[in-house]
Symmetry: C2
Subunit: 218 residues, 2 copies
């Protein structure tokens, strides 16, 4: 099953590369703030780069509606009881989007720190959203997904002053124990903190294709 998924993921990746679409597999637990972050990201990138969004969800299509309201072309993938997206689901949903014109395609995976890590979708980069409210130990407790991350976005940092038992440095240390190339950006979609750095990170991946090869999945 994984071999078949990998074949489809490879086809997806070839297609995305041919049309120069930077594809972000955005993962994270439930409530990590992925959708809110996407809203802020779409606003910060602006309409010049056409942005697409695919949202995976057990049951609702609300995340796709929010991405559309923020200015992206978006479709939802209802997974029913499946706990992750796979490459075939992505390929099927692409038929409903003008993806060849996109500068960026964000695939918002299901809220789950375990299963999505095992399924390649054909993405350019893996980004994991981790909320400061989820505690310092999550990189050590769910190592696989962080091992595969090109970048961790530490979300909801506006709540840090209320969390006397959560320290950014400890999270960074824990990430450095599991990520082959540790990279973390603190962000708050609410206050806008860090969103500009995150967009610069994206642009660095998207623009000079050769340079990006050195650090990512291209």
């Amino acid at each position: 099953m994984l071999a078949s998924n990998d074949r489809t993921a490879r086809r997806n990746r070839e297609d995305f590369r041919e049309h120069e679409v930077l594809v972000v597999n955005l993962m994270g637990g439930p409530g990590a703030g992925k959708t809110r972050l996407l809203e802020a990201t779409i606003a910060a990138i602006g309409p010049a780069a056409r942005i697409g969004v695919l949202t995976g969800d057990l049951a609702t299509g609300t995340d796709a509606a929010r991405a559309r309201a923020a200015g992206a072309s978006a479709e939802s993938i209802a997974t029913g009881s499946a706990c992750h997206l796979d490459a075939e689901m992505v390929r099927g949903a692409l038929r409903r989007l003008p993806w060849r014109d996109f500068g960026y395609l964000f695939i918002e995976n299901l809220g789950n720190l375990v299963c999505p890590a095992c399924y390649d979708l054909g993405q350019s980069v893996n980004v994991v959203a981790l909320a400061v409210t989820d505690g310092e130990d999550k990189p050590l407790k769910y190592p696989t997904i962080f091992q595969k991350a090109d970048l961790v976005l530490l979300t909801k940092v506006d709540l840090l002053p209320r969390l006397d038992d959560v320290h950014v440095d400890t999270i960074r240390d824990n990430l450095s124990l599991v990520m082959p190339q540790p990279a973390m950006l603190p962000v708050s979609a609410k206050t806008g903190e860090g969103v500009d750095r995150w967009v610069r990170w994206l642009r660095a991946y998207g623009r000079p294709r050769a340079a990006a090869c050195a650090v990512g999945a291209w």
Copy 2:
């Protein structure tokens, strides 16, 4: 595979019932505060009722160590890459615990709002921890696990004053749309708020077996 799991779960349930152990399958996303809540619960129930804890984890045994430090007999189940506990894992781990003497056995499932919902462990009750910081929409987005919950513990309510976009009433309304018998208790393991009501709820399940039949899995 599910049929085989159900058979083992039935055996577990018969054994637990024979020895009058109330078994709580505690589920919730990563960072919902399950372990912290267990620490507060063990302290509130007190040493008279012997308490056992099984913690499911991809990689670390830290949760079991925390439960032991709080006064329980605890063992961890390392699942490797599996995204949920199953009845056989529980049955195997029981060999390492004097479970027949327990008044309560808490099984802390993996941090995951999707997969654990599909696997019966033989528990008496399903309890789902949901953090206020995870947002109001989670019951609608992950309905299966909430449909199977006998009780939802709304955790980290001490952070509510900082969350101007999260309202307890909205979460309660969303839960009532998916839970057959809606039941929610707001708690904070940090301040202790609501922990006494949660322990009373547990005692009501554990003591008068006949009355508990009306509402739960016994």
